[in-house]
Point group: C2
Chain length 144, copies 2
DNA sequence: TTAAGTTGTAACTATTTTGATTACATGTAT
DNA sequence: ATACATGTAATCAAAATAGTTACAACTTAA
């Protein structure tokens, strides 16, 4: 099972809003770039808005970032689009048998390990900003 | 979305086979400790067997580990039970529009970042052995 | 003030995965 | 031969994903 593509779509949306900042970036325009439905885009934009990453207003076409690219990390996007809950990257089977030494203690033994693994992953996301992403997109474009 | 509990159940199974090594550990016994169905246990045991972590034979009750506890990492279990595919912890939306600078390049830009995040998580799993887990389970048991 | 265009959101759908369950063939040992 | 285990397939309900349609609410401009 994979983490929802809402995350990569969220990154795509934010990068494109920035790159396209001289024009108005509507959900329809974004949808044609992402290759999905405008309603899907609007739903994700609603999450990005709720997280304070973008400004969008009913009836008004377009949207813009509320912060500088360098001030938005991929972790911010990841949290915004709600793809992995706090301390819930790994699920642990519940109600193991408390009469068994293993059943009684596995959960408490495993949980901190799973948390550490999740945190290590999230730290990588914290270390990358949208500025890094956009610069890399532009660099790749110039090469090709 | 969370990573399947097959992983935590796999750890539970291996730990219990070891702790119970003086007796025979049947799928029914394991099922009662994990609190699930024996067929579920057998399916996961089949994966652990295929990965070379345990010995089980048709018709013969019980199973044992093929290696020392200290030689089995949680990463081995994680790979065995097939909960996350290689380079596929995060899914990326496909067929973005190649006529858009972002659509054309996001995938290639994002992929290495996602891979790095996944690897960071997996490194934590590599660093923990079943011996660590079993010792912690026993320590918790002695305290309580 | 009406018309056109956009966002916000709900409802519905197909697909996929999970985890549980039942059933039974296959294999082993007494 | 009987009893018991494992191996495995088929089936099911529940949950999440991603797409689609539809429409209300809002804004702007003619």
């Amino acid at each position: 099972m994979s983490i929802s593509s809402r995350f990569s779509v969220g990154i795509h949306i934010l990068a494109l809003i920035n790159i396209n900042k001289e024009s108005t970036t509507t959900s329809e325009f974004l949808a044609s770039s992402v290759n999905t439905n405008p309603a899907v885009i609007r739903k994700i934009m609603g999450m990005l808005k709720k997280a304070g990453l973008i400004e969008v207003r009913p009836g008004i076409a377009g949207s813009k970032l509320t912060k500088e690219l360098a001030e938005i990390t991929l972790f911010d996007v990841y949290k915004a689009v709600n793809v992995v809950q706090e301390n819930d990257l790994f699920s642990i089977h519940d109600n193991p048998n408390p009469l068994c030494i293993v059943g009684k203690n596995v959960q408490n033994t495993i949980e901190p390990i799973f948390t550490a693994a999740q945190v290590a992953m999230e730290k990588v996301l914290i270390s990358v900003t949208l500025e890094d992403v956009v610069k890399d997109i532009e660099a790749k474009e110039n090469i090709s």
